[in-house]
Symmetry: C2
Subunit: 260 residues, 2 copies
Protein backbone atom coordinates (compact mmCIF):
# COMPACT_ATOMS: atom_id res chain seq x y z
CA UNK A 1 0.00 0.00 0.00
CA UNK A 2 1.50 3.32 -1.03
CA UNK A 3 1.89 5.98 1.62
CA UNK A 4 -0.60 8.31 -0.03
CA UNK A 5 -3.26 5.61 0.07
CA UNK A 6 -3.00 5.16 3.80
CA UNK A 7 -5.67 6.82 5.92
CA UNK A 8 -4.44 9.85 7.83
CA UNK A 9 -5.05 9.16 11.51
CA UNK A 10 -4.90 11.88 14.16
CA UNK A 11 -4.00 10.46 17.57
CA UNK A 12 -4.60 12.39 20.79
CA UNK A 13 -5.48 11.73 24.43
CA UNK A 14 -5.95 13.44 27.79
CA UNK A 15 -3.29 11.77 29.95
CA UNK A 16 -0.50 13.55 28.09
CA UNK A 17 1.68 12.70 25.12
CA UNK A 18 4.08 10.44 27.07
CA UNK A 19 1.40 8.33 28.81
CA UNK A 20 1.71 4.58 28.15
CA UNK A 21 -1.90 4.45 26.90
CA UNK A 22 -1.33 6.81 23.97
CA UNK A 23 2.08 5.29 23.17
CA UNK A 24 0.40 1.88 22.82
CA UNK A 25 -2.37 3.35 20.62
CA UNK A 26 0.21 5.06 18.37
CA UNK A 27 1.96 1.72 17.76
CA UNK A 28 -1.33 0.05 16.87
CA UNK A 29 -2.31 2.87 14.49
CA UNK A 30 1.09 2.83 12.73
CA UNK A 31 0.04 -0.59 11.39
CA UNK A 32 -3.11 0.91 9.87
CA UNK A 33 -2.49 4.46 8.70
CA UNK A 34 -0.24 7.50 8.50
CA UNK A 35 -0.22 8.71 12.08
CA UNK A 36 -0.01 12.29 13.35
CA UNK A 37 0.12 12.83 17.11
CA UNK A 38 -1.02 16.11 18.64
CA UNK A 39 -1.56 15.56 22.35
CA UNK A 40 -1.39 17.54 25.61
CA UNK A 41 2.03 18.19 27.13
CA UNK A 42 0.65 17.37 30.60
CA UNK A 43 -2.24 15.40 32.14
CA UNK A 44 -5.68 16.82 31.28
CA UNK A 45 -7.99 14.26 32.86
CA UNK A 46 -11.47 15.48 33.69
CA UNK A 47 -11.15 18.52 31.44
CA UNK A 48 -14.34 17.66 29.57
CA UNK A 49 -14.92 19.84 26.54
CA UNK A 50 -12.86 22.76 27.90
CA UNK A 51 -11.13 25.07 25.41
CA UNK A 52 -8.47 27.72 25.97
CA UNK A 53 -9.90 31.12 25.11
CA UNK A 54 -8.33 33.49 27.63
CA UNK A 55 -4.77 32.29 27.41
CA UNK A 56 -2.03 31.42 24.91
CA UNK A 57 -1.28 27.99 23.47
CA UNK A 58 2.13 26.50 22.80
CA UNK A 59 2.49 23.58 20.45
CA UNK A 60 5.96 22.10 19.95
CA UNK A 61 7.22 19.39 17.64
CA UNK A 62 8.95 16.61 19.48
CA UNK A 63 10.46 13.20 18.94
CA UNK A 64 9.58 10.69 21.62
CA UNK A 65 10.38 7.30 20.12
CA UNK A 66 11.55 5.68 16.88
CA UNK A 67 8.11 4.70 15.60
CA UNK A 68 7.02 5.44 12.05
CA UNK A 69 5.21 8.57 13.31
CA UNK A 70 8.25 9.87 15.19
CA UNK A 71 8.68 12.93 12.93
CA UNK A 72 4.97 13.78 13.20
CA UNK A 73 4.42 14.48 16.90
CA UNK A 74 3.50 17.71 18.66
CA UNK A 75 2.91 18.43 22.35
CA UNK A 76 0.35 21.13 23.05
CA UNK A 77 -0.05 23.20 26.23
CA UNK A 78 -3.85 23.18 25.97
CA UNK A 79 -6.74 20.83 26.58
CA UNK A 80 -7.54 17.73 24.51
CA UNK A 81 -10.15 19.73 22.54
CA UNK A 82 -7.52 22.44 21.87
CA UNK A 83 -5.24 19.70 20.47
CA UNK A 84 -7.86 18.61 17.94
CA UNK A 85 -8.68 22.17 16.90
CA UNK A 86 -5.02 23.14 16.53
CA UNK A 87 -4.22 19.92 14.66
CA UNK A 88 -6.95 20.48 12.10
CA UNK A 89 -6.37 24.22 11.69
CA UNK A 90 -2.57 24.53 11.85
CA UNK A 91 -0.72 21.22 11.74
CA UNK A 92 -2.20 18.44 9.61
CA UNK A 93 -1.51 18.46 5.85
CA UNK A 94 -5.20 17.67 5.22
CA UNK A 95 -8.38 16.80 7.07
CA UNK A 96 -7.76 13.47 8.82
CA UNK A 97 -9.70 10.37 7.80
CA UNK A 98 -10.05 9.36 11.43
CA UNK A 99 -9.29 10.70 14.90
CA UNK A 100 -8.52 8.23 17.69
CA UNK A 101 -8.20 9.36 21.30
CA UNK A 102 -6.73 7.41 24.20
CA UNK A 103 -6.07 4.79 25.29
CA UNK A 104 -7.34 6.44 28.46
CA UNK A 105 -6.04 5.30 31.82
CA UNK A 106 -9.45 4.59 33.39
CA UNK A 107 -13.04 4.03 32.30
CA UNK A 108 -15.02 6.51 30.23
CA UNK A 109 -18.22 4.47 30.16
CA UNK A 110 -21.72 5.80 30.87
CA UNK A 111 -21.85 9.35 32.31
CA UNK A 112 -18.02 9.58 32.32
CA UNK A 113 -18.21 10.45 28.64
CA UNK A 114 -19.21 13.98 29.63
CA UNK A 115 -16.30 14.61 32.05
CA UNK A 116 -13.67 12.92 29.92
CA UNK A 117 -10.99 14.84 28.06
CA UNK A 118 -10.31 11.74 25.97
CA UNK A 119 -13.90 11.50 24.78
CA UNK A 120 -14.27 15.27 24.39
CA UNK A 121 -11.34 15.25 21.97
CA UNK A 122 -13.13 12.56 19.94
CA UNK A 123 -16.41 14.48 20.12
CA UNK A 124 -14.66 17.65 18.93
CA UNK A 125 -13.36 15.75 15.91
CA UNK A 126 -16.94 14.61 15.34
CA UNK A 127 -18.21 18.20 15.48
CA UNK A 128 -15.58 19.09 12.87
CA UNK A 129 -16.91 16.37 10.56
CA UNK A 130 -14.26 13.74 11.24
CA UNK A 131 -15.12 10.13 12.21
CA UNK A 132 -13.66 9.57 15.66
CA UNK A 133 -13.14 6.88 18.25
CA UNK A 134 -12.19 7.19 21.91
CA UNK A 135 -10.59 4.20 23.65
CA UNK A 136 -10.43 3.74 27.42
CA UNK A 137 -9.14 0.91 29.57
CA UNK A 138 -10.88 0.28 32.90
CA UNK A 139 -7.55 0.31 34.72
CA UNK A 140 -6.02 3.48 36.21
CA UNK A 141 -2.60 1.94 36.70
CA UNK A 142 0.35 3.51 34.88
CA UNK A 143 1.59 0.02 34.02
CA UNK A 144 -1.79 -1.31 32.87
CA UNK A 145 -1.78 -3.84 30.03
CA UNK A 146 -2.79 -1.69 27.05
CA UNK A 147 -1.88 -4.41 24.55
CA UNK A 148 -4.35 -7.05 25.78
CA UNK A 149 -7.11 -5.63 23.58
CA UNK A 150 -4.90 -4.83 20.56
CA UNK A 151 -6.71 -7.10 18.10
CA UNK A 152 -10.12 -5.69 19.11
CA UNK A 153 -8.92 -2.08 18.96
CA UNK A 154 -7.48 -2.60 15.48
CA UNK A 155 -10.64 -4.43 14.41
CA UNK A 156 -12.84 -1.52 15.50
CA UNK A 157 -10.61 0.98 13.68
CA UNK A 158 -10.45 -1.14 10.50
CA UNK A 159 -14.21 -1.70 10.53
CA UNK A 160 -14.84 2.02 10.96
CA UNK A 161 -12.66 2.71 7.91
CA UNK A 162 -14.08 -0.19 5.85
CA UNK A 163 -17.69 0.76 6.63
CA UNK A 164 -16.99 4.45 6.02
CA UNK A 165 -18.32 5.56 9.36
CA UNK A 166 -20.45 8.65 8.74
CA UNK A 167 -18.76 12.03 9.13
CA UNK A 168 -19.21 13.24 12.65
CA UNK A 169 -20.06 9.85 14.15
CA UNK A 170 -18.09 9.15 17.31
CA UNK A 171 -17.55 5.81 19.07
CA UNK A 172 -16.94 5.47 22.79
CA UNK A 173 -15.01 2.23 23.31
CA UNK A 174 -14.30 0.92 26.80
CA UNK A 175 -12.14 -2.09 27.52
CA UNK A 176 -12.55 -4.24 30.64
CA UNK A 177 -9.50 -4.87 32.81
CA UNK A 178 -8.92 -8.45 31.73
CA UNK A 179 -6.05 -10.47 30.22
CA UNK A 180 -6.24 -11.05 26.47
CA UNK A 181 -7.63 -14.56 26.69
CA UNK A 182 -10.50 -13.47 28.95
CA UNK A 183 -11.79 -10.72 26.63
CA UNK A 184 -15.04 -12.09 25.19
CA UNK A 185 -15.43 -9.76 22.21
CA UNK A 186 -17.17 -6.51 21.26
CA UNK A 187 -20.71 -5.40 22.15
CA UNK A 188 -22.59 -2.43 20.70
CA UNK A 189 -24.36 -0.66 23.57
CA UNK A 190 -26.10 2.44 24.79
CA UNK A 191 -24.77 4.77 27.50
CA UNK A 192 -25.84 3.50 30.94
CA UNK A 193 -27.68 5.87 33.24
CA UNK A 194 -25.21 6.43 36.06
CA UNK A 195 -23.95 9.13 38.37
CA UNK A 196 -21.04 9.97 40.63
CA UNK A 197 -21.92 10.57 44.27
CA UNK A 198 -19.28 12.96 45.51
CA UNK A 199 -17.71 13.07 48.92
CA UNK A 200 -15.37 16.02 49.43
CA UNK A 201 -12.50 15.46 51.85
CA UNK A 202 -12.06 18.63 53.93
CA UNK A 203 -8.59 19.75 55.07
CA UNK A 204 -6.89 22.86 56.47
CA UNK A 205 -3.96 24.50 54.72
CA UNK A 206 -0.95 25.73 56.78
CA UNK A 207 -2.67 29.13 57.11
CA UNK A 208 -5.87 27.63 58.46
CA UNK A 209 -7.99 27.97 55.32
CA UNK A 210 -10.34 25.11 54.50
CA UNK A 211 -9.81 23.31 51.22
CA UNK A 212 -11.33 20.28 49.56
CA UNK A 213 -10.30 17.22 47.59
CA UNK A 214 -12.99 15.72 45.39
CA UNK A 215 -13.59 12.03 45.86
CA UNK A 216 -16.62 10.11 44.78
CA UNK A 217 -18.32 6.81 44.24
CA UNK A 218 -19.65 5.65 40.90
CA UNK A 219 -23.29 4.56 40.98
CA UNK A 220 -24.84 2.66 38.09
CA UNK A 221 -28.59 3.37 38.19
CA UNK A 222 -29.32 1.29 35.10
CA UNK A 223 -30.36 -2.39 35.18
CA UNK A 224 -30.53 -2.64 31.36
CA UNK A 225 -28.57 -5.44 29.70
CA UNK A 226 -27.93 -3.29 26.61
CA UNK A 227 -25.69 -0.75 28.38
CA UNK A 228 -21.93 -0.24 28.31
CA UNK A 229 -21.70 -1.00 32.03
CA UNK A 230 -23.40 -4.35 31.51
CA UNK A 231 -21.13 -5.30 28.58
CA UNK A 232 -18.00 -4.44 30.58
CA UNK A 233 -19.18 -6.51 33.55
CA UNK A 234 -19.66 -9.47 31.23
CA UNK A 235 -16.11 -9.13 29.87
CA UNK A 236 -16.89 -7.46 26.53
CA UNK A 237 -15.46 -4.29 25.03
CA UNK A 238 -18.35 -1.80 24.94
CA UNK A 239 -18.92 0.36 21.84
CA UNK A 240 -21.41 3.24 22.25
CA UNK A 241 -22.10 5.44 19.22
CA UNK A 242 -22.05 9.07 20.38
CA UNK A 243 -23.67 12.23 19.02
CA UNK A 244 -23.62 15.80 20.25
CA UNK A 245 -27.12 17.09 19.66
CA UNK A 246 -28.02 17.63 23.32
CA UNK A 247 -31.68 18.46 22.52
CA UNK A 248 -34.17 16.46 24.59
CA UNK A 249 -36.42 16.06 21.54
CA UNK A 250 -39.00 14.04 23.51
CA UNK A 251 -39.65 17.01 25.82
CA UNK A 252 -40.30 19.63 23.14
CA UNK A 253 -44.02 18.88 22.90
CA UNK A 254 -44.38 19.05 26.70
CA UNK A 255 -42.59 22.41 26.76
CA UNK A 256 -44.86 23.75 24.06
CA UNK A 257 -47.80 23.28 26.44
CA UNK A 258 -46.24 25.56 29.05
CA UNK A 259 -47.62 29.09 29.32
CA UNK A 260 -44.90 31.01 27.50
CA UNK B 1 -45.30 33.04 51.84
CA UNK B 2 -43.29 31.51 54.67
CA UNK B 3 -39.58 31.08 54.14
CA UNK B 4 -39.77 27.27 54.32
CA UNK B 5 -42.30 27.21 51.48
CA UNK B 6 -40.03 29.05 49.08
CA UNK B 7 -38.20 26.96 46.52
CA UNK B 8 -34.48 26.66 47.22
CA UNK B 9 -32.67 28.02 44.17
CA UNK B 10 -28.96 27.41 43.55
CA UNK B 11 -27.44 30.17 41.41
CA UNK B 12 -24.12 29.75 39.64
CA UNK B 13 -22.36 30.88 36.46
CA UNK B 14 -19.06 30.72 34.59
CA UNK B 15 -18.10 34.40 34.33
CA UNK B 16 -17.34 34.55 38.06
CA UNK B 17 -19.35 35.52 41.13
CA UNK B 18 -18.99 39.29 40.63
CA UNK B 19 -20.01 39.36 36.95
CA UNK B 20 -22.97 41.64 36.20
CA UNK B 21 -24.85 38.76 34.58
CA UNK B 22 -25.01 36.63 37.72
CA UNK B 23 -25.69 39.65 39.94
CA UNK B 24 -28.75 40.43 37.79
CA UNK B 25 -29.94 36.81 37.91
CA UNK B 26 -29.56 36.72 41.71
CA UNK B 27 -31.83 39.78 42.04
CA UNK B 28 -34.46 38.20 39.82
CA UNK B 29 -34.33 34.89 41.74
CA UNK B 30 -34.65 36.64 45.13
CA UNK B 31 -38.20 37.53 44.04
CA UNK B 32 -39.00 33.84 43.48
CA UNK B 33 -37.14 31.66 45.97
CA UNK B 34 -34.56 31.29 48.71
CA UNK B 35 -31.32 31.88 46.85
CA UNK B 36 -27.93 30.29 47.50
CA UNK B 37 -25.01 31.41 45.33
CA UNK B 38 -22.00 29.15 44.77
CA UNK B 39 -20.06 30.48 41.81
CA UNK B 40 -16.46 30.57 40.53
CA UNK B 41 -14.09 33.12 42.08
CA UNK B 42 -12.71 33.94 38.61
CA UNK B 43 -13.81 33.72 34.96
CA UNK B 44 -14.31 30.13 33.74
CA UNK B 45 -15.65 30.66 30.24
CA UNK B 46 -15.17 27.79 27.82
CA UNK B 47 -14.46 25.33 30.62
CA UNK B 48 -17.14 22.95 29.39
CA UNK B 49 -17.81 20.07 31.76
CA UNK B 50 -14.34 20.21 33.32
CA UNK B 51 -13.92 19.08 36.93
CA UNK B 52 -11.01 19.50 39.35
CA UNK B 53 -9.59 16.09 40.18
CA UNK B 54 -5.83 16.65 40.46
CA UNK B 55 -5.87 19.79 42.54
CA UNK B 56 -7.43 21.32 45.66
CA UNK B 57 -10.58 23.42 45.83
CA UNK B 58 -11.16 26.46 47.99
CA UNK B 59 -14.67 27.66 48.70
CA UNK B 60 -15.12 30.80 50.78
CA UNK B 61 -18.21 32.49 52.13
CA UNK B 62 -18.45 36.10 51.06
CA UNK B 63 -20.79 39.06 51.16
CA UNK B 64 -20.99 40.97 47.91
CA UNK B 65 -24.15 43.06 48.17
CA UNK B 66 -27.13 43.68 50.45
CA UNK B 67 -29.57 41.40 48.64
CA UNK B 68 -31.72 38.89 50.48
CA UNK B 69 -29.15 36.17 49.61
CA UNK B 70 -26.20 38.18 50.89
CA UNK B 71 -25.45 35.75 53.77
CA UNK B 72 -25.67 32.76 51.47
CA UNK B 73 -22.87 33.30 48.94
CA UNK B 74 -19.68 31.32 48.37
CA UNK B 75 -16.86 31.83 45.85
CA UNK B 76 -15.20 28.64 44.68
CA UNK B 77 -11.76 28.26 43.10
CA UNK B 78 -12.96 25.51 40.75
CA UNK B 79 -14.95 25.18 37.55
CA UNK B 80 -18.70 25.77 37.21
CA UNK B 81 -19.30 21.99 37.49
CA UNK B 82 -17.17 21.90 40.66
CA UNK B 83 -19.40 24.66 42.09
CA UNK B 84 -22.54 22.59 41.59
CA UNK B 85 -20.98 19.44 43.02
CA UNK B 86 -19.58 21.26 46.07
CA UNK B 87 -22.85 23.12 46.62
CA UNK B 88 -24.89 19.93 46.67
CA UNK B 89 -22.41 17.88 48.70
CA UNK B 90 -21.09 20.40 51.23
CA UNK B 91 -22.96 23.69 51.32
CA UNK B 92 -26.71 23.58 50.70
CA UNK B 93 -29.01 22.66 53.60
CA UNK B 94 -30.97 20.36 51.25
CA UNK B 95 -31.17 19.36 47.62
CA UNK B 96 -32.17 22.48 45.67
CA UNK B 97 -35.52 22.66 43.92
CA UNK B 98 -33.89 24.38 40.96
CA UNK B 99 -30.46 25.36 39.70
CA UNK B 100 -30.10 28.44 37.51
CA UNK B 101 -26.84 29.30 35.80
CA UNK B 102 -25.88 32.58 34.17
CA UNK B 103 -26.77 35.05 32.94
CA UNK B 104 -23.86 34.31 30.64
CA UNK B 105 -22.08 37.18 28.92
CA UNK B 106 -22.43 35.82 25.37
CA UNK B 107 -24.48 33.25 23.48
CA UNK B 108 -24.66 29.58 24.40
CA UNK B 109 -26.97 28.58 21.58
CA UNK B 110 -26.49 25.60 19.26
CA UNK B 111 -23.09 23.85 19.56
CA UNK B 112 -21.90 26.38 22.18
CA UNK B 113 -23.82 24.34 24.76
CA UNK B 114 -20.96 21.85 24.75
CA UNK B 115 -18.14 24.37 25.35
CA UNK B 116 -20.04 26.46 27.86
CA UNK B 117 -19.24 26.44 31.56
CA UNK B 118 -22.61 28.08 32.22
CA UNK B 119 -24.53 25.28 30.51
CA UNK B 120 -22.26 22.56 31.90
CA UNK B 121 -23.11 23.72 35.43
CA UNK B 122 -26.80 23.39 34.56
CA UNK B 123 -26.23 19.99 32.96
CA UNK B 124 -24.34 18.82 36.06
CA UNK B 125 -27.34 19.79 38.20
CA UNK B 126 -29.45 17.78 35.75
CA UNK B 127 -27.21 14.73 36.13
CA UNK B 128 -27.63 15.04 39.90
CA UNK B 129 -31.41 14.97 39.51
CA UNK B 130 -32.09 18.69 39.87
CA UNK B 131 -34.18 20.66 37.35
CA UNK B 132 -31.89 23.29 35.89
CA UNK B 133 -31.90 26.27 33.55
CA UNK B 134 -28.98 28.07 31.93
CA UNK B 135 -29.49 31.67 30.78
CA UNK B 136 -27.25 33.44 28.27
CA UNK B 137 -27.46 36.89 26.69
CA UNK B 138 -26.14 37.29 23.15
CA UNK B 139 -24.01 40.25 24.21
CA UNK B 140 -20.41 39.92 25.42
CA UNK B 141 -20.26 43.42 26.82
CA UNK B 142 -19.59 43.85 30.54
CA UNK B 143 -22.26 46.55 30.65
CA UNK B 144 -24.85 44.59 28.66
CA UNK B 145 -28.52 45.11 29.57
CA UNK B 146 -29.28 41.99 31.62
CA UNK B 147 -32.60 43.37 32.83
CA UNK B 148 -34.27 43.74 29.42
CA UNK B 149 -35.47 40.12 29.54
CA UNK B 150 -36.34 40.07 33.26
CA UNK B 151 -40.03 39.29 32.80
CA UNK B 152 -39.28 36.43 30.40
CA UNK B 153 -36.56 34.98 32.62
CA UNK B 154 -38.85 35.03 35.63
CA UNK B 155 -41.67 33.54 33.55
CA UNK B 156 -39.49 30.62 32.45
CA UNK B 157 -38.39 29.97 36.04
CA UNK B 158 -41.94 30.23 37.42
CA UNK B 159 -43.31 27.96 34.69
CA UNK B 160 -40.61 25.39 35.37
CA UNK B 161 -41.59 25.36 39.05
CA UNK B 162 -45.35 25.38 38.35
CA UNK B 163 -45.12 22.58 35.80
CA UNK B 164 -42.77 20.58 38.01
CA UNK B 165 -40.12 20.21 35.37
CA UNK B 166 -38.93 16.59 35.49
CA UNK B 167 -35.87 15.81 37.61
CA UNK B 168 -32.80 16.06 35.48
CA UNK B 169 -34.39 18.11 32.69
CA UNK B 170 -32.27 21.09 31.69
CA UNK B 171 -33.27 24.14 29.69
CA UNK B 172 -30.85 26.15 27.56
CA UNK B 173 -32.25 29.69 27.33
CA UNK B 174 -30.66 32.26 25.05
CA UNK B 175 -31.70 35.91 24.92
CA UNK B 176 -31.25 38.08 21.83
CA UNK B 177 -29.41 41.39 22.23
CA UNK B 178 -32.47 43.62 22.02
CA UNK B 179 -34.13 46.30 24.15
CA UNK B 180 -37.09 45.11 26.25
CA UNK B 181 -39.75 46.41 23.88
CA UNK B 182 -38.23 44.58 20.91
CA UNK B 183 -38.23 41.13 22.57
CA UNK B 184 -40.98 39.18 20.81
CA UNK B 185 -41.45 36.38 23.34
CA UNK B 186 -40.28 32.82 23.99
CA UNK B 187 -39.83 29.99 21.47
CA UNK B 188 -39.23 26.32 22.24
CA UNK B 189 -36.55 25.05 19.85
CA UNK B 190 -34.05 22.36 19.05
CA UNK B 191 -30.26 22.89 19.03
CA UNK B 192 -29.14 24.19 15.62
CA UNK B 193 -26.43 22.29 13.78
CA UNK B 194 -23.51 24.69 13.81
CA UNK B 195 -19.76 24.75 14.13
CA UNK B 196 -16.89 27.10 14.94
CA UNK B 197 -14.29 27.45 12.21
CA UNK B 198 -11.09 28.26 14.03
CA UNK B 199 -8.32 30.54 12.92
CA UNK B 200 -5.31 30.56 15.23
CA UNK B 201 -3.32 33.77 15.37
CA UNK B 202 0.38 32.89 15.46
CA UNK B 203 2.87 35.04 17.44
CA UNK B 204 6.40 34.82 18.81
CA UNK B 205 7.15 35.20 22.50
CA UNK B 206 10.18 37.30 23.60
CA UNK B 207 12.31 34.13 23.50
CA UNK B 208 11.32 33.33 19.94
CA UNK B 209 8.92 30.49 20.68
CA UNK B 210 5.75 30.31 18.61
CA UNK B 211 2.45 30.57 20.45
CA UNK B 212 -1.19 30.78 19.39
CA UNK B 213 -4.37 32.65 20.24
CA UNK B 214 -7.58 30.91 19.33
CA UNK B 215 -10.00 32.92 17.26
CA UNK B 216 -12.87 31.62 15.24
CA UNK B 217 -15.96 32.28 13.25
CA UNK B 218 -19.34 30.84 14.08
CA UNK B 219 -21.01 29.00 11.22
CA UNK B 220 -24.68 28.01 11.34
CA UNK B 221 -25.12 24.99 9.05
CA UNK B 222 -28.83 24.64 9.80
CA UNK B 223 -31.59 26.21 7.71
CA UNK B 224 -34.36 24.84 9.97
CA UNK B 225 -36.92 27.33 11.31
CA UNK B 226 -37.31 25.30 14.54
CA UNK B 227 -33.77 25.97 15.81
CA UNK B 228 -32.46 28.23 18.56
CA UNK B 229 -30.44 30.24 16.02
CA UNK B 230 -33.58 30.91 14.00
CA UNK B 231 -35.59 32.00 17.06
CA UNK B 232 -32.85 34.38 18.17
CA UNK B 233 -32.61 35.92 14.70
CA UNK B 234 -36.35 36.56 14.79
CA UNK B 235 -36.09 38.34 18.16
CA UNK B 236 -37.35 35.54 20.43
CA UNK B 237 -35.76 34.02 23.51
CA UNK B 238 -34.85 30.45 22.56
CA UNK B 239 -35.56 27.58 24.97
CA UNK B 240 -33.96 24.23 24.12
CA UNK B 241 -34.62 21.26 26.42
CA UNK B 242 -31.30 19.49 27.04
CA UNK B 243 -30.44 15.92 27.99
CA UNK B 244 -27.11 14.19 28.56
CA UNK B 245 -27.54 10.75 27.05
CA UNK B 246 -24.97 11.13 24.29
CA UNK B 247 -25.89 7.79 22.67
CA UNK B 248 -26.55 8.04 18.93
CA UNK B 249 -29.47 5.62 19.24
CA UNK B 250 -30.24 5.79 15.51
CA UNK B 251 -26.80 4.35 14.67
CA UNK B 252 -26.94 1.28 16.94
CA UNK B 253 -28.61 -0.93 14.33
CA UNK B 254 -26.02 0.10 11.69
CA UNK B 255 -23.19 -0.69 14.09
CA UNK B 256 -24.66 -4.09 14.81
CA UNK B 257 -24.17 -4.97 11.14
CA UNK B 258 -20.41 -4.34 11.34
CA UNK B 259 -18.14 -7.37 11.54
CA UNK B 260 -17.26 -7.30 15.25
Amino acid sequence: MKSEQKPLILVTNDDGITAPGVRALIKMMNEIGEVYVIAPDSPQSGMGHAITINSTLFCEKMKIDDGEQSEREWACSGTPVDCVKLAITKILPRKPDLCVSGINHGSNSSINVIYSGTMSAAVEAGIEGIPAIGFSLCDFSYSADFLAAKKFIQKIVRESIKNQMPKGMVLNVNIPKLPEEKLKGIKVCRQAKAVWVEDYVERKDPRGRTYYWMTGEFKNLDKGKDTDESALEEGYLSVVPIQYDMTAHHFISDLNRWDF
